[in-house]
Amino acid sequence: MRAFKITSLFALAAIAVSACASAGGTGGDIKVAILAPLSGPVPTFGVSTRDGALQAIDEWNAKGGINGQKIVPIVEDSQCTPDPAVNAAHKVIDQDKVSFIIGEVCSKASIPVADYANSKKVIMMSPTSTATGVTVDQNGKVKDYIFRACFIDPFQGKVAAKFALDTLKAKTAFIMLDQSNDYVKGLAEAFEAAYTAAGGKIVGKENYTGKDTDFSTILAKVADAKPALVYLPDYYNVVNLVTKQAKEKGITAPFMGGDGWDSPDLDTKAADGGYYTNHYSPDDTSPTVVNFVKAYGAKYKDDKGQPKTPDALAALAYDAGNLLFTAIKNAGSTDTTKVKDALTKINYAGVSGKITYDANHNPVKSAVILHVTGGKVVFDSVVAP
């Protein structure tokens, strides 16, 4: 039984490899899989991701495809969960024989998909997975065929520190962080390192846990330390609670955070005066962004029939598609080895900034700073690293 299993596995692998080889480099259509969490905990992320990627595919097809080949999308629901995501990856790689994947959205699902895709020499471009482990394995070795379109967590901390010192002229900062959340910790650590290195002073650092609702003790310490800025790189639900309680304590220092603030549920009144770093802003006035927002709104409508405004997920999925297709065009072939080489050398101006890749396949690009003011979130500036 065991021997049978092993031989059949080998047979499967052999078929898959030969299929891959035959799929690459031949004429005809280019199949591209989109793995998006259309169900599960974050379905809005999935819909935005799918729509953004399809937008890019439609635009390329309207121009006549890549090197004369049409792009055919295959959309699969990967549920933001490792097992369904891996099953979807097996389906598109082994059955549909795709060589290119756009997705997954969530880091925990992207990591196992990346491992499988990399072993099959299938190029995977995650639009929004920010964990380091997506493109790099445990031993620190880069996964050759895996790329992403978003910047990674620590980068946001660096950008925030730079903005705080250069633009806000805030020389002292207080950090509040949830020690049990890797995302928050990553941003906070990067902020602290960059901020102190550039001459800023951290006047206090307090931990809380994600389940806390009462922040009055920490805020009493913030009021006591009188910082020029409070760095709070958590999700919007915590931000709502903290900023509201801070306003009531008479704390006037602005709060600053990361893309976790980006939600329609952010309490813009409580967070008034705050800033956060994000991947992109639909209010950016650069022509690339303006054109994208217009085209997207023309194609996708909300429940009321109004044009949809693309969020950061749609923008990153759009960029992910364009990065991939530009690389295929530059390589002049759908051979994944050539395409991955083209990707490492790419210099592409997307809606989320100018993108080149570093050695770990993480994009080097700019971030936008958004300002919460007057009950709205408005575009403030673009900060290059």
Binding site: T209, T217, K221, D224, K244, D267
Partner: protein
């Protein structure tokens, strides 16, 4: 949980070594208490304003816990059941007020009905209506839960009812998290009235937006005062109800001996329903005040406050109403001071450490009467 000094046959430790162990334990606890005291005194003299500020936030928390703990302790006193769904009734209270305020603008009704009313009266009457509605809905909910889940098990072993209570708790949490009920999101809570903050520094001043209070000022808000006043009032009225009214007398009789009370013509089922209703109404009130103080709600909001109020009830002596109150105040301070002077993530750990210490040292709590068995 057994009493610490139980002399059950399966505990083979001899009396002598047991006594020595008890002394070591007591010495250790005493040393710990001394250490805590020294740290507190030092922190007080280090920065008295910060200490006072932290103590105020502890008071605010403590009074909310008191409202929840009353429900635990009353229900336990009568049916000897730890109603673990109590924290979720508290959550429901917050959600009822959320829907009343955000979806139906119930807090604005006096302005719509009597257009000439001064705004302060509109706010007071409107907020009271919202709070009353939450209390009534929670009371009805608790009575229903009691009828459906606990009454059929009244003569079953106590552990069965306890497990059912945990089941009801999970049901409320995860049924509430369904998209068509409350949804699992963290929802920003719209308050029925605005929060005003004052600071004490050469007299009492209003905190205005954009102006930080001076260094060393102590801030407090109207919601903190409301929580304290309401909590004390509820405590007093409950004492009055239990000690001075007919229904209170019936409650005490039921708590003392259910069968004898029934023989004396007391409708025990009704008394139990009333007890659940009163406890739940207090929890609903607590839920509204908690949501106003910490305005972001989701369906798991009641879990930790519920558990901490339970610890408070045990600390005060479960079954004792003044005990629940004192226990809750101690819990609030312990939590706040831990967050202030040890570390914020430690505060939940400290809360449950207190539970363990109480159960080891004095399982009947501060005000509790010695009893044979506890759940």
């Amino acid at each position: 949980m057994q009493k610490a000094n139980s002399s059950q046959p399966f505990m083979p430790a001899t009396r002598k070594s047991g006594a020595r162990l008890a002394w070591i334990g007591r010495g250790f606890l005493l040393a710990l208490a001394l250490l805590v005291l020294i740290v507190l005194i030092r922190s007080f003299f280090d920065n008295p304003q910060l200490f006072a500020q932290i103590a105020i936030s502890g008071l605010q928390l403590g009074f909310v816990y008191a409202l929840i703990a009353l429900g635990y302790t009353m229900v336990y006193g009568i049916v000897k059941l730890i109603n673990f769904a109590h924290g979720d009734v508290f959550m429901a209270g917050a959600f009822v007020s959320f829907f009343a305020v955000s979806h139906f603008q119930l807090h604005r009704w006096p302005a719509a009905v009597f257009p000439g009313l001064p705004p302060i009266l509109v706010t007071i009457i409107g907020s009271l209506t919202v709070i009353l509605l939450s209390m009534v809905v929670c009371a009805l909910m608790a009575v229903t839960i009691e009828r459906v889940a606990y009454k059929p098990l009244r003569n079953a072993p106590r552990i069965a009812a306890l497990i059912t209570a945990i089941g009801v708790s999970f049901f409320l949490e995860y049924f509430g998290a369904l998209n068509f009920v409350f949804s699992p999101r963290f929802i920003p809570y719209q308050r029925p009235f605005g929060v005003v903050t004052w600071y004490i520094y050469d007299g009492i001043h209003l905190v205005t937006e954009g102006h930080a209070p001076p260094q060393g000022a102590i801030t407090f808000s109207n919601i903190a005062i409301i929580i304290m006043v309401v909590s004390i009032l509820m405590q007093l009225s409950l004492q009055f109800l239990v000690r001075r009214t007919r229904i209170g007398k019936a409650m005490r009789a039921t708590a003392f001996d259910k069968q004898a009370a029934q023989l004396m013509g007391i409708n025990v089922d009704r008394i139990i329903s009333v007890t659940f209703a009163i406890g739940a109404a207090f929890a609903g009130l607590g839920g509204v005040l908690y949501a106003i103080a910490y305005p972001s709600i989701n369906t798991l909001l009641g879990v930790l406050p519920g558990l901490k109020a339970f610890v408070a009830a045990v600390l005060g002596g479960i079954g004792s109403i003044p005990g629940a109150f004192i226990g809750a105040l101690i819990m609030g301070q312990a939590e706040s001071l831990t967050a202030g002077y040890i570390s914020t993530p430690m505060r939940d750990a400290i809360a449950f450490t207190i539970l363990i210490i109480v159960l080891l040292v004095r399982p009947t709590g501060i005000f509790g009467e010695p009893e044979k068995e506890k759940v």
